[in-house]
């Protein structure tokens, strides 16, 4: 038995169908060669991450492993079998399990246990072994009590656990996770990752995780970075992360604690070795040691938090309540919320906490059962969600972009699709054209795509078209549900760039997110929602000032704040009495702020 479970050499693969488009798992078209000479090998029993921007060929690679596609040329050995050898086709496939990104599209069964049984049934496992495998797999992922439940009733996190159970019941040797955590909230994601890690240890599995989540990647033993169909980098996480520039050059990012460490070390003109980056503790030790011995010559300027003046109140939610009649349980419970003009307000909370229900009230798509949603016009009039006559106008001022808005596109050209909302208004063709261009510019779409079909575009571009379709109505308040979900790190960054630009132009933005890190970085104000109620709200630096304060309102600290909190604690031991500024929103400013505090402490001179 060889020590490598996967061994491939010079793999080339291109999607043949050039009339119709072919998409990867995240909905991006794949043109030309998806794999262009990929050579790599995966050691047996390891836990590996495959990273790469969208369209880099990582999903294609995973599909080749499970022989869901066949390579054009090159050699591929999986579990010691040649993937081209028809005799071993089932030997490979039966021992590889694949968990996909979208939980809905991989569930075959109507009930939980029927779905888990689907795989082993295909393998022809007889009862009672079949029953035993199903029960054990469900037990393992913690869904035993829900065995007879309808699969459509499960939450996203439960659905992915179900997919894992379905894979486990087939007793695989190799488990492929294709962005399996992308659609989960942080808590569900952490649970999923713990489950995977436990499984690997106890079941002697090899796990290959395709992911965009750098934190997830940092938990792995080995990372492969794929770019343009080739292996770009490989190594232990800390080895890969030591090459910051290279990682960024392919549109990926580093885990935030490594970014911060690198930034501080750079200021001190010290470079980190992979050993330094191994764990958060080693990062902290390295920074502490460096700041003790080698301070930068130039003191960074004092970082000013750009806290804008609060604008006038533009919307308010008062005593809003909402209950579904077919499910018992209150979704919104007497909720109060004010929204101020010009701010970026982030609504954060777990899946099912009522965020989406709240925002569908904001533009009157859902009408208040109890309580009121009010929009305050500039001329002093008010528009209320509960008054039918006023809802139409309310919708003009408050634009709503739901999650995965690219699924709502339908027109032949991008231009027509964006203009759809304007058709009901009596505008001249020139006006419409002007406003479409304006909206396209706002989301950073090039004019050349105006006459293209929206379905030819990449996933990220489609999302922008859908956003433009709402912006074209010139809303004063733009409400976004998870605007960055499913995008790769570069796409996410660009999306938040668009949001920042909209804010600069005076649009009030309300965004729903389960990503605390992004909320903390980009929002002026954060509102934490828990079980249909506002649990806490405030500026990010207020909410996350200290671990204790955040914990008291049941918040998890964003990773940057969390790491920097630990770092500051360590620095306080070395420099007793040191005073730190409030935490900053991004790692660059936080690095400056920390270095500055140390210089001030040691030099005693404030610059």
């Amino acid at each position: 038995m060889s020590t490598d479970i996967i061994n491939c050499k010079d793999l080339v693969f291109s999607y043949k169908n050039d009339v119709e488009e072919t998409y990867d798992a995240s909905g991006n078209p794949l043109y030309g060669k998806a794999l262009d000479g990929l050579t790599l090998s995966v050691p047996r029993g390891s836990y590996c991450a495959v990273l790469g921007p969208n369209g880099s060929g990582k999903s294609t690679f995973a599909k080749l492993i499970d022989i869901l596609e066949a390579a054009d040329s090159g050699d591929m050995q999986v579990l010691g079998y040649d993937a081209k050898d028809q005799d071993h086709f089932w030997d490979i496939r039966e021992n590889c399990s694949y968990v996909f990104q979208n939980p809905d599209n991989q569930i075959v069964g109507t009930t939980v246990e029927e779905d888990v049984a689907f795989g082993p049934e295909n393998l022809g496992i007889p009862n009672p072994e079949l029953r035993e495998r199903v029960d054990k797999a469900l037990e393992y992922v913690g869904l035993r009590e829900l065995a007879l439940r309808q699969t459509t009733e499960l939450s996203g996190g439960q659905k992915q656990k179900l997919a894992i159970a379905g894979a486990l019941a087939m007793k695989p040797t190799l488990l492929i996770l294709d962005e399996s955590t992308a659609m989960l909230d942080p808590e569900a994601r952490d649970e999923f990752l713990e489950l995977t890690e436990r499984m690997r240890k106890e079941r002697d599995l090899t796990v290959l995780a395709i992911t965009h989540d750098m934190y997830e990647a940092s938990r792995c033993e080995k990372i492969y970075v794929i770019s343009e169909g080739k292996l770009f980098m490989e190594g232990r996480p800390e080895q890969v992360f030591a090459h910051e520039e290279r990682i960024r050059s392919v549109g990926l990012q580093l885990p935030v604690h490594i970014s911060l460490t690198n930034e501080i070390l750079k200021m001190c003109r010290v470079s980190a070795t992979p050993e330094d980056l191994k764990t958060e503790q080693s990062c902290i030790a390295k920074i502490t040691e460096t700041l003790r011995n080698k301070l930068p010559a130039v003191c960074p300027l004092k970082v000013r938090g750009d806290r804008p003046e609060k604008g006038r109140k533009i919307m308010s939610v008062e005593g809003l309540g909402f209950t579904y009649d077919d499910r018992n349980g209150t979704v919104l419970d007497n909720m109060d919320l004010d929204i101020y003009e010009g701010e970026v307000l982030a609504l954060v909370g777990k899946s099912g906490c009522g965020k989406t229900t709240l925002i569908t009230h904001l533009n009157g798509l859902l009408r208040p059962q109890t309580g009121e949603v009010t929009y305050y016009c500039e001329d002093g009039r008010t528009l209320r969600g509960s008054v039918k006559k006023e809802v139409g106008e309310l919708r003009k001022y408050v634009g709503l972009v739901l999650q995965y808005p690219e699924y709502q596109l339908f027109e032949e050209t991008v231009e027509k699709d964006i203009a759809y909302g304007l058709k009901k208004q009596k505008l001249s063709d020139d006006d419409i054209r002007f406003r479409v261009r304006e909206a396209m510019k706002a989301v950073g779409l090039d004019e050349s795509v105006a006459t293209k079909s929206p379905f030819e575009l990449s996933g990220g571009q489609k999302r922008r078209v859908a956003m433009a379709g709402v912006l074209v109505m010139r809303p004063k308040v733009l409400v976004l549900d998870e605007p960055a979900s499913g995008l790769d790190p570069r796409g996410r960054k660009e999306m938040f760039g668009i949001i920042s630009n909209l804010r600069k132009r005076g649009t009030t933005v309300v965004l729903v997110s389960h990503n605390m890190d992004e909320a903390a970085e980009y929002a002026d104000r954060i509102c934490v929602i828990k079980q249909g109620k506002i649990e806490a709200s405030g500026d990010p630096d207020e909410l996350f000032e200290s671990r204790e304060k955040a914990m008291s309102v049941g918040l998890q600290l964003p990773r940057l704040y969390d790491f920097s909190d630990a770092l500051k604690a360590s620095l306080k031991e070395v420099f007793p009495g040191i005073v730190f500024d409030r935490p900053q929103r991004d790692y660059k400013r936080e690095a400056s702020s920390i270095v500055r505090s140390v210089i001030v402490y040691r030099g005693g001179k404030d610059v």
């Binding site: 599909k63 979208n102 009930t111 393998l123 022809g124 496992i125 709402v470």
Partner: protein
């Protein structure tokens, strides 16, 4: 707007009817279907109503669920009632104004036709959809039609397609709801305007729905491939269908019920 549709919805109460072999339920369902259209006396109708209610109790169905499964057809039932009441000319008139005439015969037919429809839906729900998962229904059909595979009829494939279609109904309903909301927030209006503009409005829902359904279909096919699906040959079943004494007992009770309805229909005048 689709939240009340119960088509293909399964509601688990763990009753004896839930655990009855689906083949037995399908046959019983067919029998009750025929009976529903055979009866034409009040006594028959009353006993059918009584036995349908008893079935509901046996299935431990909460009345709320029963009502919600009948709700979508109430409008149709009312329409059938009106159609029959106003068009039947036989019998003695009980109401007459101008050319509108309602006769006692007409009323009776109207009652029977509309109630038949409601009982039809109720027994479909109790005997099939609410108490039997779609996968079991397709299992049963697969078994019942398996002789047809001799003449190369793709029985297993048909059954698999059916169960997948049923499994995706709630998912697609959710999706439709989401797309409608998205289009409504860019100014689409599905409730006002004339019929042409309304139909046109639905295009903005249908196109995205089709596109995403194709995408789902493709992903599901890949996922099934990855889970080693290779047709019906050599496949085992977690819950293989097996006729037991209890199934026979349920069948017997239900047949007695059917007999009682027919007896009431023929004998009591």
């Amino acid at each position: 707007m689709f939240k009340n549709v119960s088509l293909g919805r399964y509601y688990d109460t763990g009753s004896v009817l839930h655990n009855t072999d689906p083949r037995v339920k399908i046959v019983l369902y067919l029998i009750y279907l025929i009976i529903t259209f055979m009866i034409n006396t009040w006594a028959g109708l009353l006993s059918l109503a009584l036995i349908t209610v008893l079935q509901g109790v046996a299935a431990k169905m909460p009345p709320k669920i029963m009502i919600s499964s009948v709700r979508p057809v109430i409008l149709l039932a009312l329409f059938i009632f009106a159609l029959n009441a106003f068009t039947q000319r036989q019998g003695t008139p009980v109401f007459q104004k101008g050319i509108i005439m309602v006769t006692d015969e007409g009323l009776k037919t109207a009652f029977f036709m509309s109630l038949r429809l409601i009982f039809l839906i109720m027994s479909t729900s109790i005997l099939l959809t609410l108490t039997t998962t779609p996968l079991k229904i397709s299992d049963a059909l697969e078994k019942m039609f398996s002789p047809l595979s001799v003449i190369k009829f793709p029985v297993h494939e048909m059954a698999m397609m059916m169960s997948i279609a049923l499994r995706f109904i709630p998912t697609l309903i959710d999706e439709t709801d989401k797309i409608m909301k998205a289009q409504a927030s860019r100014g689409a209006d599905y409730d006002t305007g004339n019929i042409i503009s309304r139909v046109k409005g639905y295009i903005t829902v249908l196109i995205p729905l089709f596109i995403s359904s194709f995408k789902r279909a493709e992903e599901l096919a890949t996922a099934m491939d990855a889970r080693c699906y290779r047709g019906g040959e050599g496949r085992t079943k977690l819950n293989p269908l097996k006729l037991t004494g209890r199934d026979a007992f349920v069948a017997l009770i239900m047949l007695i019920g059917a007999g009682l309805i027919l007896a009431a229909d023929f004998l009591v005048k």
